[in-house]
Symmetry: C2
Subunit: 481 residues, 2 copies
């Protein structure tokens, strides 16, 4: 291991104190989506800035403007930008994390108070809102800084920090900040950044660390069909009028096959088939169809081929039908002909798909299929929101360093994953900084990030802290000129 | 006109008093669906029984048992059974109506207090909850009784009455009462009934009186597709699992064509094509595609052929897709793969279709189509509720009498209509009494029975009262031996 023994020993020796510090962070209910907790998000920013400063990180709290929430105008929580180390011979790594959390209340079904850490030593689980998302990972970095500061060890790389307090509420203001700092070039906080490391996702399972090198994009659509002036009674009008639901259901039925093949012409244009190198990544993954079905809670994998299922999840586009607004959605029976119905569906995108290009194809297809129905109803298709897909080069030194660190700390080869969901800040860094970005998760697939009884395994917290530090040493080692 | 001039003059001369009496009835908020108004439904029963007794009708209030509503156990409002006349040489006509009303509150959008009659003399409209549904028609019968009692005229037929106070809340207890009275034969209240007349529907338009001789039945289904243990995130699972919404939308898309042809095999078995006599009824109807589209609030008729549209509404079966329970139904965008979704659809039935037979065909078809999808999801199809269709012989003397009465009072030939919706008590009378039943509406298509600003035109109330009385005279005349 290239990381000094002193460092890893320090992490082990201070494990209890680190867990107590995580408890301090959990105790600040920094819920960004709840106006009444906004003060706590600010308090959390102060707490975090204090910790960073204690270990020699220079910081600035950047105000991000104001926000309308629940009828009030509130100040947005600041982003914390920070720097430590300016050695031109060392690589500079930018670390991202967020110090706000999802809402939580014991009455939602928590076994313990969500904002009081409950450390169950028997199972080794640290329960509490934010334990894994994303206070644990942020505190992992604090543990690394703490060790180096206390042991008076030089860090093997220069570090830059970008911590935000609005991630769970749309990261308001952050894109603008990143763009403006990037535009400042050598005068900005991100000057000289060689690579980015983001710890805000999860292992694919509960046993194998992973490195994530891709995220799918998304394009979300609303398909409206209307006709009657108001909802009609199916007894009175059924059989004499064109019904919006009949047209909408027919159109929604023309979008995707049962096994997930998207029927929109041109949607697969330009998507490369996986080459042998990429296929091997899926073959090497420690993840089975059983794992997927156990996480999904049902025997519903859409193929018996493991790599087909995994590639369906990670590297191929998909289309899901989410629901219908304006139709009857209650329990029981209502004999309504809904007047205006909005079908909701979205595609997950992979390179080179973009929301702009896919939107053109979706609109052309839906318009042509609607015309074939030959009704006298009205159709409107709207693009609601979206984001581009992202894929990084997993053979970059940034990933090589994390792979070696994983092997050193966990004695396991990491899973190389692409995720189906989106982490928008990844795209923002990619677009503005143009450097390699890696997602390096700390927690496990079963942590329950946005759920009740959110937890982080103590072993993930402690080994994860070693992993983060070791990764920095591996970066230093690999990139030594 | 066979009705004596004295009678029709009396109705005209007492029009203001009759309208005031309708105001008295409207002022009793007899909302059967609101537990806090149950006392008012009883009060309304007392008021109505008092009126009937005043004109020589012998009555009995029949208790119908108890009901669970809003967590309370309440007495059901009584049905009022009544009789006047026992001349074996006269026909005996059973009249049905209901004295309960739909909920109403000014804040719903009423221009005036719903439970204070607002008679707008300029437009001739009588506004108030219950004005047309169904207090106006009931009071029409009171006006007829009042005239004969005051003028000391013999009624041309024997009358029997069945007035209920739970029509707007499922007619709880009424089916049992009708069945038990019918079973008593000569000892029951319905002994000797030759025909039934129900005034509880509406003209097809705003200008032509109508006689209704058919109602469609209904069979309502819930189609469940499930698979995952809980809702899944489309980013994480989209593309790797079979999705319940994809299967449900596909199946719902196989039920009916855009122009209303039902795709379930065997569903049209036994339905007779309209013969020349029936076709002529549709040709003679004073109802245009414009009327339909204006009522529906959109240019959405499913054919340019008037008789096709009318028969689609009145005499052919139809299938409507009502909505989906368990999918995303809110505004905006949610990236969910719903775990378990219930598609709701129903068929409107015509003779000889029955819910039992149609249910077998629906289940067989959906099961076979689901198997073809070849997913690993679960499917369950459930029949939620239904009712048989009903058609009466419109050439029966009961209808002939009403036709002549309409021509005498309105100087118009009535529309002969079949309705797409259901009035379950019609089926109950048909099944238990085995006599001809006629629906003889008093109000117009635009009365807004269950809506805000419910109204009855004063001319419909006054001419309608003459029509009801004249109909009885025509029955007497036609059936004179």
């Amino acid at each position: 291991m290239v990381a000094p023994q002193q460092f890893t020993d320090f992490i082990d020796q201070n494990a209890d104190r680190f867990i107590q510090r995580l408890g301090e962070a959990i105790a600040i209910p920094s819920i960004s989506g709840d106006a009444s907790r906004r003060g706590d998000v600010f308090k959390m920013a102060d707490w975090l800035e204090g910790q960073l400063n204690k270990y020699g990180v220079k910081t600035e709290k950047i105000p991000l403007g104001k926000q309308q929430i629940e009828g009030q105008t509130l100040d947005l929580p600041p982003a914390i930008l920070g720097r430590i180390g300016d050695d031109p011979k060392k690589k500079t790594i930018l670390l991202y994390g967020h110090f706000d959390v999802q809402p939580a209340d014991k009455s939602d079904g928590w076994d313990h108070e969500p904002f009081q850490m409950h450390y169950d030593k028997a199972s080794g689980k640290i329960f509490g809102r934010g334990s894994t998302d994303d206070k644990g990972p942020i505190l992992g970095w604090l543990n690394v800084l703490d060790a180096h500061h206390t042991l008076k060890l030089d860090l093997p790389v220069n570090l830059r920090f970008c911590f935000e307090g609005m991630e769970e509420s749309g990261s308001e203001g952050l894109d603008e900040l990143i763009a403006s700092e990037a535009a400042k070039k050598e005068q900005g906080w991100f000057a000289g950044v060689d690579a980015v490391c983001i710890s805000d996702n999860y292992w694919l399972n509960t046993r194998t660390p992973c490195l994530t090198y891709g995220l799918r994009g998304i394009a979300y659509y609303q398909l409206n069909i209307s006709g009657p002036g108001a909802d009609l009674h199916s007894g009175i009008y059924g059989g004499s009028v064109f019904e919006p639901m009949t047209a909408l259901i027919t159109l929604m039925g023309k979008l995707v096959t049962q096994d997930g093949r998207i029927l929109i012409p041109g949607v697969y244009d330009g998507i490369q088939a996986a080459d042998a190198n990429e296929l091997k990544k899926y073959e090497d993954l420690d993840y089975s169809i059983d794992d997927l079905e156990s996480a999904a809670g049902g025997k519903i994998a859409n193929s018996a081929e493991r790599s087909t299922v995994l590639m369906g999840r990670m590297r191929n586009p998909s289309l899901s039908l989410h629901g219908i607004e304006g139709a009857y959605s209650g329990a029981g029976a209502k004999t309504v002909i809904p007047a205006s119905v909005n079908g909701k569906f979205s595609l997950r995108l992979v390179p080179p798909q973009t929301p702009e290009d896919i939107t053109k194809k979706v609109i052309a297809y839906v318009e042509s299929e609607f015309a074939k129905l030959n009704t006298r109803l009205n159709m409107k298709i709207e693009y609601l929101h979206g984001g581009k897909p992202w894929v990084a080069d997993p053979s970059h030194w940034n990933f090589e360093a994390a792979k070696k660190a994983t092997e050193a700390v966990y004695l396991q080869t990491p899973n190389y994953t692409r995720e189906g969901g989106s982490i928008p800040v990844t795209l923002t860094f990619a677009d503005n900084l143009g450097v390699n970005i890696m997602l390096l998760p700390m927690g496990r697939a079963d942590d329950g990030a946005h759920s009740t009884n959110e937890k982080l395994d103590a072993s993930n917290f402690i080994k994860g802290s070693k992993l983060l530090g070791t990764y920095l040493y591996e970066v230093g080692e690999i990139t030594k000129s």
